[in-house]
Amino acid sequence: MEFLDVTLVSKGKFWFKKENSLRWQYTDPYNYIIVINDGVVQISDDGKDQEFQVKGNRIFEQVNNIIVASMKGDVIDNDDFDVQLYENDQYYLVRLKPLKSEVLQVIHEMEMYFKKTTLQISRIRMNEPNDDYTLIRYTNRIINEPIPSSVFSL
């Protein structure tokens, strides 16, 4: 957080299963779980659970869509963003600028880094309009292992 001159670090686990199921679970500094399955969002926050439709929240919907698209490999085929491509010797960078003004108020642009050797997403950076950003790094990746369906519900 630029204004506060503070960097906050959260850690957790991330599961994804084709087509649109994901679980985003923070374990540090506190337990917080977001599960998205069949267009329904479930959030568990300190024992308080809530549920709503992804479609009811435009910003949530687009962030979710772009993260899912980055996993599935069709991030470029997206009408909601202006897409630019860059590369260096290690990464492909996909820079996405939201086209909808309500999303643009919250997310100035998203940068997705794909490792050239594996073509897998390595990190996502969400830049906000005020110089703040959120950086998501994916580490300790396990691919194509069976995931029990119970993971995608609270």
Partner: protein
């Protein structure tokens, strides 16, 4: 007619005086027991404190992390979502507050006013109001703070919870600040409730 009105008027006046002056009566009594409180209840964030927080505004609910940074008595506060996106940040000092950034859902001046005032109350060191503290017969601390904008506020503790006393009885407890803690001088759980704004902030220190 005048014979009929007279007792009615006296009765109305008595009722009016009874209800409208009750909070002041409480403080007036305490003036006899005035002394300085050495460790008044407030949030001492040190250089920085991080809280897990949920904020309800006008029926919308947000949860995430609430960060407070102390830079030489200039407080900076920010609230960001679980996914990392910032909801707002502001700075608070003795003269008031300034919103640096705010998403649309929070961008309502009365709400931000109430939130900033609540934070300022919780953050400012009440010891600078030496002489304005009172302890009543039940050991409840009552103190008044005077902001630069002329607002006078009175607070008291009830069962370990700090509550604001407003000037009129019928809106008493409209604003409720609860600072309760496991340690004697450092609240770890905070609830700020403003019923009029349908604003509720719950914070738990991480």
């Amino acid at each position: 007619m005048s014979r009929f009105l007279h007792p009615f008027s006296v009765c109305s006046l008595t009722i009016f005086l009874f209800f409208s002056c009750q909070p002041y009566k409480l403080v007036k009594e305490e003036k006899q027991h005035r002394y300085t409180v050495s460790s008044p209840l407030h949030i001492d964030v040190g250089d920085k404190a991080v809280y897990r927080a949920s904020v309800g505004i006008l029926g919308n609910y947000f949860s995430g992390l609430f960060v407070i940074v102390n830079a030489d008595s200039l407080y900076k506060a920010g609230f960001l979502s679980g996914m990392g996106i910032k909801f707002f940040d502001m700075q608070i000092d003795e003269d008031g507050y300034e919103i640096i950034y705010c998403i649309e859902s929070f961008n309502r001046k009365p709400v931000l006013n109430a939130m900033a005032r609540g934070l300022r109350f919780m953050l400012e060191d009440p010891s600078k109001y030496d002489g304005n503290f009172y302890v009543d017969k039940d050991d409840d601390i009552i103190y008044r703070s005077a902001d630069n904008d002329g607002w006078k506020r009175q607070y008291y503790l009830e069962n370990g919870r700090t509550k604001q006393i407003t000037g009129r009885r019928f809106i008493r407890n409209m604003v409720l600040v609860e600072l309760y803690n496991n340690r004697a001088d450092q609240p770890e759980n905070i609830i700020f409730l403003h019923k009029g704004m349908r604003l509720r902030i719950e914070m738990k220190k991480l």
